[in-house]
Amino acid sequence: MGNMKTNDRTANETARGISTTCVHAGEERQKEASSITDPIFCASTYTFANTAAVIEFIEKKLPREEYGRYGNPGEKVVERKLAALDGAEAAVLYSSGMAAVAGLLLAKLNSGDEVIFFDECYHRTREFCSKHMARFGVVTHQVPAGDYDAMEAAINKNTRLLVSESPTNPHLSVVDLERFAGLGRKHGVETLIDATLGTPYNVQPIGAGVDYVLHSATKYLGGHNDLLAGVIVGSEEQLAPVRKLRGITGAVNSPHNFYLLERGLKTFELRMQRHNANGQAVAEFLHEHPRIEKVYYPGLPSHPYHEIASRTMRGFGGLVTFLIKDADWRATADVVDRVQIPRIAPSLGGVESLIEQPLVMSYYEMPVEDRKRFGIPDNMIRLSCGIENTEDLVADLKQALQG
C-alpha cells in the first residue's frame, strides 16, 4: 500500500530541498504566455475544436480538461506540489478540510463497514462519522489515543479504516506513525492520519507507511487565514476512486483558491521554521511561568509524547495549549482578553497568532461531562503562534499573565 515512485520527475523533485520543492514542484517550467507564475483559469467549461477532439478525449487519447468539476489546470499544479511536499504520488484537493475527510470516507466506506478512531482525533471528523456515516450504516469505534492494543482489539473483518490525528488538537498527543501504519498493514486495513497540525514540514506519514494523509490546507499550507481548503494525499491508485467521487459530489475548491494556495506554499518552509521557533519559545516561557499549571507541547521534555515526537518530527509546530493555575473559566477568559497581539478567533496555522479558550469557542455547547471526557477543562487556552517576532509574543503573554 506504499507510494511507489514511478515518476522520474516526482523522484527528482522530492530529492530536492523543501523550499525548492515549495517554489518549483508541480509547476511547468515554461508556462502559458511565458508567464513565470501560473495563470488562474476561471472557466467553468472547456471547448472542443470538433467532434473528433471530443471522441479522442472520451477514449482517453488526449489528456485535457472538460468541465470545472472534473478538473482545472491550476488544481493539478497545486495538487502536484502538495503531493511532492508529502513525498506522495498524488493529492486530491477539496473546498475545505471537512470536505476532504468526508470525500475520503464516502469513497472508501459502504453500508456495513467499520472505522476505528483514536479518540483525540478532530472532534468534527469523529462527529461526521458517528452521526452521519452512522445513518448510512457505517459503524464508528473510538479507542483511547495512543492505545494501539485497544485499536488492534477493535479490528474485525468489517474494519476498513484506522484514523488518527497527529499531533492531536488541542492536546498535541503524537502518534507513533510506523506502529500505527504497521497495525493497518498487519490486518489489511487502510490508515489515515490527519496531519493538519503536523504539516509536511514537521511530519511525513506517507514515508512511515500510512496510506492517506489529510490536511486542512486552510491552516499552515495556505498559511494566511484567507482561504478554505482541504487535501488528501496518497497513492494514485488508492486515490483514483476518491478523485472520481469528488467529480460526482462536487466538493471541489475554486480557481482563485488554487492560486492562493500555490502562492502560500512558496513560503511554507520559511513560515514553518518561524512557527516552530515561536511555538517552542512560547512553550518554554509558559512552562517556567508560576501562573501556569500545565503546558501541552511535544517539544517540551515534560510532554508524555516528547520521545516519539523527537524521533519522528522535524519541529513541533506553532500550536501551544496550556492551563492557567487555580483559575476558573472567567479568570482564564481574562488572560485571553488581555493579550494584545494574538486575536481571539477559531482556526490556526496562519501568519497571525490566534488565541482561544476551547471551553467558550469550539466546546461551548457541549455538556460538562462530555468536556471532561474530551479533556477540555475550563482553564485551558489554545494559542496558535503566528510568524510575529518571538520576543513580541513572549512579552505580550507575560503582560497578559501579570494582569
Binding site: 472557466a43 467532434t51 470536505a99 468526508a102 462536487g250 481571539i344 482561544e356
Partner: protein, 384 residues
C-alpha cells in the same frame, strides 16, 4: 419591490465603514471574536462568511424563500440534500434528471442502502404516484428537463408530496428564479447549479439550495457545515454580481431562443424542435402557467440525417462553441448522443427520446441574426 430591484439591492447594503456601494469581499477564513464566549454572526468561514451570506440573502429573496445555502458546485448542493436521508430510505426522481444527479443516486447513494426509482414526471403523474413506497422520503424533479425540455408540473408534484409527506426538491437550473419560483408552487427545496444562469459568464462553479422552512434549513446547514463543500468568497461575489443582470439576461436569451426555435421549425433540414414556448410542445400549457412570461434559453432539435449529420453540424458552427455546460452569455452547442448522454446505452437513450440526430443548444446573449446565420450555414454544411 420588483424582482430586478431586489436582485440589485437585497443583501447588498453599502459598506457602513467606507460607504462603498458594493460591499467589500471578505477572504478571511476566520473571524476575530471581540470577547471570549460572546457568539458573533461569523466565526469560521466554513460555517459562514459575509460575502457568501450576501449572495445567499439575495438568492433566498429572489426565490421567495427565507434561507439559502451556497455550495462549491451544483452537485455539492444536490449531495447535501441526499445526505439528509438514512440507510433504507427511498428516493423517487424524474427519469430525465441531470446525468450527474443520476450518477450520485445510482452509483453512490446505493452503497449506503438508499434506493431510487426513476419515473416519468412530465404530463401524467401516475407512474410517479405508483413508485412511492412507505420508505420514500424525497421526490426529486427537474424542470425544464434535459435535453428534451420536458416540463414537470411543480404544483401537482407538490400536492403528491404533501399527501405522502415527502420532501419535494426541484432542480430549477434551466428556469432560474427569473422565470419559475418553485417554493411559491409548493416545493420544499429549490436547487441551482449557479455555474449556469446565476453566474452566467462561464467563469465560476457554484451551487445553491433555497428553502422557506427554518427547521429544514437547519438540517441542511448542519450537513453543509459538517461536510464543508462551501462556495468560495470570489465565486460568491461573482454570483451576487451575476444576479444583478439575471433577469435581463434570461429574458433576452429566452427571447432569442424563441426566435431560433421558430426559425428552426420552419427549416427543411430540421425534423423536430423541442422548446416549451412553442404551442406544439407537450409541456407548453404547464410551462405557460409556471414560467413567468418566457420559456428559457435552452432548446434542442433533431437534424435530418442522424448521428453523422448532427456530428457535422456541431463541428461546423463558428459562434456556438462545442462544449458541455450551459446558461452563459456565450452560446454553446452539443450532441447529447456523443457528449452529455454518451454514457447511456443506445437503446436506453432512444427509449427516452434522445435520438442520434438530437442537438442541444444553450442560447447565449449574442444577436439573433448572427446566431441564426451561424446555424444556417452549419445546417447547410452538415447536409451537403
Amino acid at each position: 419591490m420588483k424582482f430586478r430591484t431586489r436582485a440589485i439591492h437585497v443583501g447588498n447594503e453599502p459598506d457602513p465603514a467606507t460607504g462603498a456601494v458594493v460591499p467589500p469581499l471578505h477572504l478571511a477564513s476566520t473571524f476575530v471574536q471581540a470577547k471570549a464566549g460572546v457568539p458573533q454572526e461569523y466565526d469560521y468561514a466554513r460555517s459562514g462568511s459575509p460575502t457568501r451570506k450576501s449572495f445567499e440573502t439575495t438568492l433566498a429573496n429572489l426565490e421567495g424563500g427565507t434561507h439559502a445555502l451556497a455550495f462549491a458546485t451544483g452537485m455539492a448542493a444536490t449531495t447535501c440534500v441526499t445526505m439528509m436521508l438514512s440507510s433504507g430510505d427511498h428516493i423517487v426522481a424524474g427519469r430525465d434528471i441531470y446525468g450527474g444527479t443520476y450518477r450520485l443516486l445510482h452509483n453512490v447513494m446505493n452503497r449506503f442502502g438508499i434506493g431510487v426509482t426513476l419515473v416519468r414526471t412530465d404530463g401524467d403523474l401516475s407512474e410517479l404516484k405508483a413508485a412511492i413506497t412507505p420508505r420514500t422520503r424525497l421526490l426529486w424533479i427537474e424542470t425544464p428537463g434535459n435535453p428534451l425540455m420536458s416540463i414537470t408540473d411543480i404544483a401537482a408534484c407538490a400536492e403528491v408530496a404533501r399527501q405522502h409527506r415527502l420532501l419535494l426538491a426541484v432542480d430549477s437550473t434551466f428556469a432560474t428564479p427569473a422565470l419559475t419560483r418553485p417554493l411559491e408552487l409548493g416545493a420544499d427545496i429549490v436547487m441551482h447549479s449557479a455555474t449556469k444562469y446565476i453566474g452566467g459568464h462561464s467563469d465560476l462553479l457554484g451551487g445553491a439550495l433555497v428553502v422557506q422552512d427554518k427547521a429544514l434549513y437547519d438540517k441542511l446547514y448542519y450537513i453543509q457545515n459538517a461536510t464543508g463543500p462551501v462556495m468560495g468568497p470570489l465565486e460568491s461575489y461573482l454570483c451576487t454580481r451575476g444576479l444583478k443582470t439575471l433577469e435581463l439576461r434570461v429574458r433576452e436569451q429566452s427571447r432569442v431562443a424563441a426566435q431560433l426555435a421558430d426559425w428552426l421549425s420552419d427549416n427543411p433540414r430540421v425534423a423536430r424542435v423541442n422548446y416549451p414556448g412553442r404551442a406544439g410542445h407537450p409541456g407548453h400549457s404547464i410551462a405557460a402557467r409556471q414560467m413567468d412570461g418566457a420559456f428559457g434559453a435552452m432548446l434542442s432539435f433533431e437534424i435530418k440525417g442522424g448521428y453523422e449529420a448532427a456530428q457535422r453540424l456541431v463541428e461546423s458552427t463558428k459562434l456556438f462553441a462545442l462544449a458541455v455546460s450551459l446558461g452563459a452569455v456565450e452560446s454553446l452547442i452539443e450532441q447529447p448522443a456523443s457528449m452529455s448522454h454518451a454514457s447511456y446505452q443506445r437503446e436506453d437513450r432512444l427509449a427516452v427520446g434522445i435520438s442520434d440526430g438530437l442537438i442541444r443548444v444553450s442560447v447565449g446573449l449574442e444577436d439573433f441574426e448572427d446566431l441564426r446565420d451561424d446555424l444556417d450555414q452549419a445546417l447547410v454544411s452538415a447536409l451537403k
